[in-house]
């Protein structure tokens, strides 16, 4: 029952020291979904701020462990064995997929004086960019060498320019993108679902679904119902229901005049 501040990077990611890089990427992506905003599993469990603190540690752990050199130093400091071909000699060819451009520069060829060995458990929040929702520039989680079964349906055309590639996790919407009717339609189509399919599963009339997608706000039901519709719809699309409902309603309020509900 260790406090978060006492947990190693591995414990934060629930991995054993010595795990392969593929596992690392998977655990990282999983942690982001599990503890990220709108996760069902943390609902009403985490105290305010707790989830954010944990996510910061997750980012930090991944940043440190996904860089072979940093990881070697980290492991050595704790007596863990670093797996695989991470020999200190010539930089091991990384998996062909682009390695995450973590904070550290490319692996130094000769082992120069190692960049300051990270102290045991001092949690430096510094290098890790931001908390959660902001589009983190650095670690693209999809490092996995083995091609994942589901090729990311590149649904979202990234409305904002600087978006990282679509995460291959639950949500195909970028973490911070506004959920528009159009985005919902595109996700639905990417999943190969017709409005009738969704109607069949959610018992929401297809005309409502269509109104949601077309953003015909005037024809939509009262907000209490709409919220339920949005959440069911999102669930069918394997998106985060809470986030979809919130974002959609926010935009609806912004776009239409504030009408009494």
């Amino acid at each position: 029952m260790k406090d978060l501040s006492e947990q190693t990077h591995y414990e934060v990611l629930e991995l054993a020291p010595g795990c392969a890089i593929g596992e690392l990427a998977k655990a990282y992506a999983q942690a982001k979904v599990r503890y990220g905003p709108g996760s069902l599993a943390t609902y009403a469990l985490a105290e305010p701020g707790e989830a954010e603190a944990l996510l910061r540690r997750v980012e930090e752990a991944f940043a440190a462990l996904s860089d072979p050199e940093q990881r070697r130093i980290y492991d050595a400091a704790r007596g863990f064995s670093t797996p695989g071909p991470a020999a200190p000699g010539p930089p091991t060819p990384r998996p062909p997929a682009q390695a995450p451009e973590v904070l550290a520069p490319a692996v130094p060829v000769e082992v120069a004086p190692p960049p300051d060995p990270p102290p045991p458990e001092v949690v430096t929040v510094a290098p890790v960019p931001v908390v959660v929702a902001a589009p983190e520039p650095a670690p693209v989680p999809v490092v996995v060498t083995a091609p994942e079964p589901t090729p990311a349906p590149v649904v979202v055309p990234a409305p904002e320019p600087e978006h990282k590639p679509v995460r291959k996790t639950e949500s195909d919407l970028p973490v911070d993108a506004a959920v528009t009717g159009d985005a919902l339609r595109r996700v639905r189509e990417a999943r190969g679902l017709s409005l009738k399919d969704v109607e069949g599963r959610t018992k929401i009339g297809h005309w409502h679904l269509e109104n949601i997608e077309r953003e015909r706000y005037a024809d939509l039901p009262a907000q209490v119902y709409l919220r339920g519709f949005l959440m069911s719809f999102a669930r069918e699309l394997k998106l985060d229901p809470v986030r979809v409902a919130r974002s959609y309603l926010e935009q609806m309020r912004a776009k239409s005049q504030p009408k009494p509900e």
């Binding site: 029952m1 979904v33 599990r34 069902l40 609902y43 009403a44 469990l45 989830a51």
Partner: protein, 333 residues
């Protein structure tokens, strides 16, 4: 298997507190295992899961007694598709019958009997303390390999105590925010209720009281432990062991999307990360219209559709449970 506690006031060597003493209930019949199916919220399939687990275990040759401990909301007989039983828990509580074994009903499934709540008096939900103890004692004296307790919703003391008396307390969740919220609440309540039973042992009355006053019991086990360890490291170590023995099992019901099937693992991880304790994930049952149809027809699903998806899922859950049973054949939860 279960060592009955010597007396009311536990002697100081803090050997692990057996289930029985937690609830001041004396005797547990040799070899009996109790499975409690709870979840905090109504309508999440606790009764159906109880009935299905009972049927599955009975089919494996275990003697199983299903007990409808959802007092005041009993409907397990309906899940089993049998007529309203003529005797039940009410007769036992009113002393018309001396033992729970006298109010059992056959279910039509070999090895499986039911202690029904169908004929309960209308005020049965407000069980008096002595009635509860008698009921718990009755349960622990049943001649069976497994007792499956179908526990009601909410977090009142009766509900929590039925959950805590079980060797395997199963938390049933549906992948929806309402269910998850109530489920966590239920577990936290059960956890603190359990600590309450040993508070004197660890000298944590004042700490628990302060926890109780905060709505939602915000002070997690970790903080509690830190505080106790500061006072006395030895007691802290023992309290930690005590806490680790609170180890619920988890079943996810009515999963629809692929993401829903991932919720179980995520809940286990979140419980560990944010509450600091462990949970065993038993399995996931997919949403299935077939289930719904059989419930409508008041027919026990596992009997009607033994080759169906739900039967397979329940089998997996029971497999897992039996493995844990072997692994922890101590009297702990």
């Amino acid at each position: 298997m279960d060592s009955p506690p010597p007396s009311e006031s536990p002697p100081l060597p803090f050997e692990l507190t057996p289930t029985a003493r937690r609830l001041k209930v004396k005797e547990r019949r040799q070899g009996l295992r109790i499975i409690g199916v709870g979840g905090g919220k109504g309508g999440i399939g606790k009764s159906l899961l109880s009935a299905s687990l009972g049927i599955d275990l009975a089919r494996r040759g275990h003697r199983v007694v299903l007990v409808d401990a959802d007092l005041g909301g009993a409907n397990l007989h309906t899940c089993l598709g049998i007529e309203q039983p003529v005797v039940g828990i009410g007769d036992f509580l009113d002393h018309r019958m001396g033992g729970l074994d006298e109010v059992m009903t056959q279910t039509g499934v070999e090895n499986l009997t039911l202690v029904s709540g169908a004929r309960d008096p209308l005020d049965v939900a407000n069980l008096k303390h002595h009635q509860k103890l008698r009921f718990l004692r009755g349960i622990q004296g049943l001649a069976a390999d497994f007792v499956v307790l179908d526990i009601g919703s909410g977090t009142n003391f009766n509900v929590l105590d039925f959950f805590l008396v079980a060797d395997h307390g199963i938390l049933t969740l549906v992948p929806e925010p309402t269910s998850i919220e109530n489920g966590y609440r239920f577990l936290k309540s059960a956890f603190y209720r359990r600590l309450k039973a040993v508070e004197k042992l660890y000298g944590i009355q004042d700490l628990l009281e302060s926890v109780g006053r905060q709505t939602g019991a915000t002070q997690g086990p970790r903080a509690l432990l830190t505080e106790v360890s500061k006072r006395d490291p030895t007691v802290g170590r023992l309290l930690e062991l005590e806490m680790q023995r609170f180890r619920p099992r988890l079943v996810i019901n009515m999963a629809r999307t692929p993401a829903d099937f991932e919720v179980g693992d995520a809940v286990v991880a979140a419980w560990r990360k944010f509450f600091g304790l462990e949970m065993d994930y038993l399995g996931c049952i997919g949403y299935d219209d077939e289930v719904w149809r059989w419930v409508r027809l008041k027919r026990p699903l596992l009997v009607q559709s033994p080759g169906g998806a739900m039967a397979a899922a329940v089998r997996g859950i029971a497999d897992h449970l039996l493995q844990l049973d072997v692994a922890h054949s101590s009297p702990a939860l």
